[in-house]
Amino acid sequence: MNHLFLYLALAAYFGATGLWLAYFLAQRETYHRAGAWVMAGGLAVHTLALIQRAIFAGSLVAATFGEALLLLGWALAAAFLLLIWRYPIKVLGVLVAPLAALMVSGALLLPPVSGPVSPLLQGFWLTAHICLTLTGYAALALAGLGGVLYLIQERQIKGKQFGFFYRRLPSLSQLDTLNYWCLTIGFPLLTGGIITGSLYAQHALGRFFSWDPKEILTLIAWLIYAVLLHERLAVGWRGRRAALLAICGFLVLVCTFVGANLWLTGYHSFAGFIQKP
């Protein structure tokens, strides 16, 4: 299959990374605006690439790790552009753009796995499972990255060091609000992803939960986010603790997504999705 669109998207994401890095260092508004436009252009060609693939395969595909990475990168870029359009935390681009670029390059570097996709992996419920889970991941990833920025900025203010980062990072309250928003959007999406997934598992395999490493890790991440959301709403947790938990949850999600697919085996890992000839 032709990878032209993907290479274009990759170039755009790297370009946006450079522009946001320039914005971070020089603090010129034009760099930020250019970065957002280049990123949006990248997202557009990325969308075209996904459509091309979907037409080629006949349905939305996430049967290999590379394909899942492509979808997740798309969701992350889209979620981020939506975020900075409504709520400009501009420096977040420095973290998000390279992450999106990494995901697309990962998808391009991984050896393509060929073979027909198992019929088990098609159908509405599964598509819903994939979409909800990946958009949830994207929103929660933003919360985690925002948490990193929060911790850096909080350290500067508490430690009374007013250096490089203090001047460039936004205020603590903005970063905390980012955490709250991404959590309230990402948590229901992740929940929906888990529910649709287990319903489909019941339908296809006859059981809700298979004690598969990926499922267990996802459940742990879900519990972390549930605790965070509950404490935020009930006790008023915020700031450092909220940022730390968001980062923890994000790391568990990374393990779920990368680790469970590459190192652990289970029926949920991508290696098992392709029918062996």
Partner: protein, 431 residues
């Protein structure tokens, strides 16, 4: 034609002298009337700020003009001429332009980067225009200075860094709360620095303001000034529940608020951030408070550190600004040089026009009656021939290939076209 800038500033003259000289200005009208009686000075602009009294002018005779301006400054009955010996400076041409740009960009100020100075220069310029003291050169210079100041402000972060303790508190609050609108402020004790900080916070849209003071009477007075309410010190624990920013300056000797007290309050506040500023010596607030989550405690030394760094940043940004000013100064001087050729260009065009008209008149007399169309065709013909003929000499003048000796080419052209004899009215070419 020369540019001349004379005056005194905070680096050369003590405040007593600057005050006396500034007294010359309040009656701007009289000052300009006086200046306009001197034929050497064609344009002038007089301005004072808290740190300077300066006069910028355009003159054909810089030496004489400088001497006269000095006399003008010494006119004040309490100023002895010897007072000016050391403090009076005279900048010419490039130095004058550069100095003026630096003043407008607040690089020559006591507090580098303070924003008020541009407003003061603007006001002075309005006065000068009102009294018709400025002309084409100063108008352009002043507008250029405004745009340089704007660029300096926009492209270097010279005004971005807090250089006073009270303002440092505000910038910190912004880094914690983002927007200060609606944030409640509690003033604990009164003092100059605390009141200044409160004023800044109010300027940023702070919400409810409360004053707690040992003597309620003083607290009430202060609260009234800021449109807030006064409470007694006993109500402090309750106040901690609603306040967002607390400025403490009682210097009571013991800690007014302990770590455990704040810890308990934070739970009931649902962890809403609390910014505590302790500018009292000895300190009012337990330094351990800073270890608590979502509580940020700053004492006077911390704030001074912010200010010190602000100064450092400003100095750093100032060097960038100086480069910008130097480049703009050169650009302005280039423009000024091209200005010198304009009288010659006008003379050239006038002479050509005169020849055209004279020759046309002669030819029309000889040709007899013509239709208006024919007549117009002749006029267009002569006009376009002279315009095209003069095009190259004019371009030659404007380009000025010898910047070191600009008058050489100018004189050549004037001699070539015999412009100076024309001006004296000796002879016109037609006979």
């Amino acid at each position: 034609m020369n540019l001349l800038l004379c005056g005194v500033n905070h680096q050369t003259a003590p405040v007593a002298l600057r005050e006396k000289l500034a007294c010359l200005i309040p009656d701007v009208g009289a000052a300009y009337d006086h200046l306009q009686t001197w034929p050497q000075i064609s344009e002038s602009l007089l301005y004072t700020t808290c740190n300077r009294v300066e006069l910028m002018c355009v003159t054909e005779a810089p030496e004489e003009a400088a001497a006269q301006i000095r006399e003008f400054f010494a006119r004040h009955p309490e100023v002895a001429p010897t007072d000016l010996d050391e403090s009076f400076y005279i900048h010419r041409d490039q130095a004058a332009v550069q100095h003026f740009f630096r003043v407008a960009s607040s690089l020559d100020s006591l507090v580098v980067g303070e924003p008020q100075i541009l407003g003061q220069v603007k006001q002075a310029y309005r006065d000068a225009v009102e009294h018709r003291a400025t002309g084409p050169i100063l108008n352009r210079l002043v507008h250029k200075a405004f745009s340089v100041a704007k660029r300096v402000r926009g492209e270097t972060g010279i005004g971005d860094h807090a250089v006073s303790v009270s303002y440092a508190a505000v910038t910190l609050a912004k880094k914690i709360f983002g927007d200060l609108a609606g944030k409640n402020v509690l003033l604990l004790g009164a003092g100059e620095m605390a009141e200044l900080a409160l004023e800044h916070l109010k300027g940023q849209g702070a919400g409810k303001i409360t004053v707690a003071n040992r003597t309620l009477e003083r607290g009430v007075r202060l609260a009234r000034r800021f449109g807030g309410e006064a409470v007694s010190l006993e109500e402090l624990p309750d106040q901690l529940l609603t306040v967002d920013i607390l400025i403490s300056s009682t210097g009571a000797g013991d800690f007014l608020i302990s770590r455990d007290q704040v810890k308990g309050v934070m739970r009931r506040r649902k962890q809403r951030p609390l910014f505590l500023i302790d500018i009292a010596v000895p300190r009012d607030l337990d330094p351990g408070i800073n270890d608590l989550d979502n509580v940020y405690l700053y004492n006077i030394d911390d704030l001074k550190e912010v200010v010190e760094q602000g100064w450092e940043r400003r100095r750093h940004e100032a060097t960038k600004a100086e480069r910008l000013v130097a480049a703009e100064t050169l650009k302005f001087l280039n423009w000024l040089e091209t200005l010198a050729v304009y009288p010659t260009i006008i003379d050239l065009r006038d002479k050509a026009e005169a020849i055209c008209q004279a020759e046309l008149k002669k030819t029309l007399n000889q040709l007899g009656p013509l239709t208006p169309a024919q007549r117009q065709a002749l006029e267009v013909l002569t006009a376009s021939i002279t315009r095209k003929l003069l095009h190259d000499p004019i371009i030659f003048l404007k380009r000025n290939r010898r910047p070191k000796n600009p008058h050489q080419e100018l004189n050549l052209v004037r001699r070539l076209f015999n412009l100076d004899r024309d001006r004296n009215g000796n002879a016109s070419e037609e006979n």
